[in-house]
Amino acid sequence: MTKNSISWMQNHVRRQLKISQNKNLDSSTVKLATKDLKAKFGKAQVLKGINITFPENRVTAIMGPSGCGKTTLIRCLNRIHELTPNAKVEGEVILDGVNIYSPQVDPVAIRRRIGMVFQKANPFPTMSIFDNAVAGLKLAGVRNKETLDRVAERSLRMAFLWDEVKNDLKKSGLNLSGGQQQRLCIARALAVEPEVILMDEPCSALDPLATAKIEESIAALKKDFTVVIVTHNLQQAARVSDFTAFMYLGQLIEFGATKDIFEAPKNPLTEKYITGEFG
């Protein structure tokens, strides 16, 4: 081991310790972080300089009232935001130490490493359940039947959907219930082995039972993935997340361990939101 790399490691450990001491981030590493992230739609400034870190193998919830910019924030994390006409992004999003907005980074490769589940289930209507699950693999050029079968089963299991659809894999995904469709979309995102999964209010269109199923799968996911979930549902944030960020009017108001945020919010705005005074 060279001197250089030893000092790097020492620095790294020190940095981590510092983070865990100062920001209550326990012992996990930072997987994804933003640095002064700003986003615009035309002239409207939606994000006003966000600095936030997402620890590895943890679930981080982003909550806040409608229009606070939480959805825009996670859409910036995998460079989907910039696909909207007139949308602009400034600042940095750092994945494993690399700014994904630097010119030499290919957004296509980034989006595979950072998967996404959307507000409304959006399975591909012309594909079967199986084809939906392995759509990303086929994109990447995987043709081997055995691999496809194995990955389809694995990701459908991880999304807690396998037992319900294992006999109907060739049927259209549109025949599933809303909750099942959303779990299919989760399986689809998992199949490409992303490192981070972004979820944009994945349960907002679902009933409590379907929501419970999805939350169950989210809890299991953090073993393998880093999860970022946007929600306006306080109970959901409390149930599924390890860390919670509270946003208001395009700014990050407070970030910390979920327990701390809910039991002892430092910012009066956060407290008001949690006690239900607005939002």
């Binding site: 693999l137 990955v151 082995e193």
Partner: protein
């Protein structure tokens, strides 16, 4: 997760294919636009020398006798489009209102479907139909028969535009009017005259433009003539049939005049289309009305 099932990076092939398809798509756009520029350019370049006061105001001369004009064809075209408008506008608007205000009735659905089918109909079949009912029975080609044939071209366009533009009028307006105790017929007419009139105008203008450019139905019903028609029950010249006859003739003089007439025709069409785009904007003209 132990061993990855995916390739570590995006294959070069996918990147190349992506660039290649972008290029192909742009090539397609260029290929689609070139003919338009060529056609417009050629009509202006070849047509402009033929245009003069005499060309627009004189009657045709015999083959290869220099001079001569297309005055009778211009008058003939306007006569026939006028007759067609008199027939098609009231019926088209009436049917269009019915499609929009009674949209769930069975008559509305059947007739609306027929109307759509009629929009895409070969105009020569409409000409053939009018020939059978009006020309073959009276043994007389006429501007009247030509106008009737053109009215069948205009009718479905007007009906469809009318119903589409009235469907854009929010229902709250209807409800508010009815809630005031204004009877339905007054409500409908007020909405039509007030809110939907731009859309109606668009439909009429587009239909007029389309009829002005039609050849086949007139060829079979009005034939042509080298004089001003004595009445609307006599064979009548039109710009389009004149372009067809002159353009396929061997006479150099006539060929030049065909380009001149084409320029006059295209200027009329452009003027009408521009008028539509300028006055009404995208939301209505964006619907595929000219189909």
């Amino acid at each position: 997760m132990t061993q990855s099932d995916l390739p570590a990076s995006i294959s070069l092939w996918r990147k190349i294919l992506n660039k290649l398809m972008t290029i192909l798509v742009i090539v397609a756009v260029v290929l689609a636009i070139i003919p338009l520029l060529l056609i417009l350019g050629d009509v202006f370049i070849r047509g402009a020398p033929a245009i003069s006061i005499g060309f627009l105001t004189k009657l045709p001369t015999a083959v290869n006798v220099h001079g001569g004009g297309i005055a009778n064809a211009i008058v003939g075209t306007f006569t026939m489009v006028g007759i067609a408008s008199l027939i098609a506008i009231p019926i088209g608007i009436g049917a269009g209102i019915f499609f929009s205000e009674w949209s769930s009735s069975r008559l509305s659905m059947v007739s609306g479907f027929m109307n759509d089918v009629l929009t895409g109909f070969p105009s020569i079949v409409l000409g053939l139909f009018v020939f059978v009912i009006l020309v073959a029975t009276t043994k007389q080609f006429s501007a009247f028969a030509g106008g009737v044939a053109l009215s069948f071209v205009m009718l479905p366009i007007i009906a469809r535009t009318t119903s589409e533009s009235l469907k854009l009028v929010p229902n709250t307006l209807r409800e508010a009017s009815m809630a005031l105790g204004i009877p339905r017929w007054k409500t409908v007419l007020r909405i039509v005259i007030g809110t939907g009139k731009n859309g109606l105008l668009t439909g009429i203008l587009l239909a007029v433009a389309r009829a002005t450019g039609e050849t086949a139905p007139i060829l079979l019903t009005a034939s042509t003539s080298v004089y001003f028609a004595k009445s609307i029950f006599a064979p009548t010249a039109s710009l389009t049939v004149l372009i067809y006859n002159y353009g396929t003739s061997a006479s150099q003089n006539w060929q030049t005049q065909a380009w001149g007439a084409a320029l006059v025709l295209i200027l009329i069409m452009l003027a009408v289309n521009l008028l539509v785009k300028l006055t009404v904007g995208r939301n209505l003209t964006g619907k595929r009305l000219e189909l």
